[in-house]
Amino acid sequence: AQRVTQPEKLLSVFKGAPVELKCNYSYSGSPELFWYVQYSRQRLQLLLRHISRESIKGFTADLNKGETSFHLKKPFAQEEDSAMYYCALSGQGLYQAGTALIFGKGTTLSVSS
């Protein structure tokens, strides 16, 4: 069955430390992977997608099809990075006909000084 796994419920780091939020997926087709973020009292919003291959707010993510992973990384965490992060998957055949996302359970990132 298609699914997205985020093994860590909570990740706590100090300001300036490297961050890696893990995401693994299970899907037999060609995946489209995304990271969405929800800051406190804000709505869920797109952080980045693998196809863009860009760095957003210092975050990058590389799709590794061999390991079926899409880990989110940042070399130096900032306090404003504290939020809930969701990994999401899209692809042909995930649903009956649509283009909706399958989300992981999310990882709370807490950055303290």
Binding site: R43, L44, G98
Partner: protein
Amino acid sequence: EAGVAQSPRYKIIEKRQSVAFWCNPISGHATLYWYQQILGQGPKLLIQFQNNGVVDDSQLPKDRFSAERLKGVDSTLKIQPAKLEDSAVYLCASSLGTGLLDEQFFGPGTRLTVL
């Protein structure tokens, strides 16, 4: 641009009662999604519309949930009758097109508590 609007923001009902949620997507967005997010879980699709037609309702519990998007703009999601396990945040999202890579813009959600 104005974001996706949802109302009400909070709703508390007793089991077996009915409830309805409203969503107004970003102007011009053809695709509208309803997701259910239970505490501690990621959002899960309930239904996807393109304009005023249903694209995918395979995950919608049709014995109690219904949704419509008349005129291809606003949408309503209804639960009748509600069960305790329906307590969740109901998220509406919209996207400009129907592509797999189209960014989905989310509303603030409606938090439903069923007692």
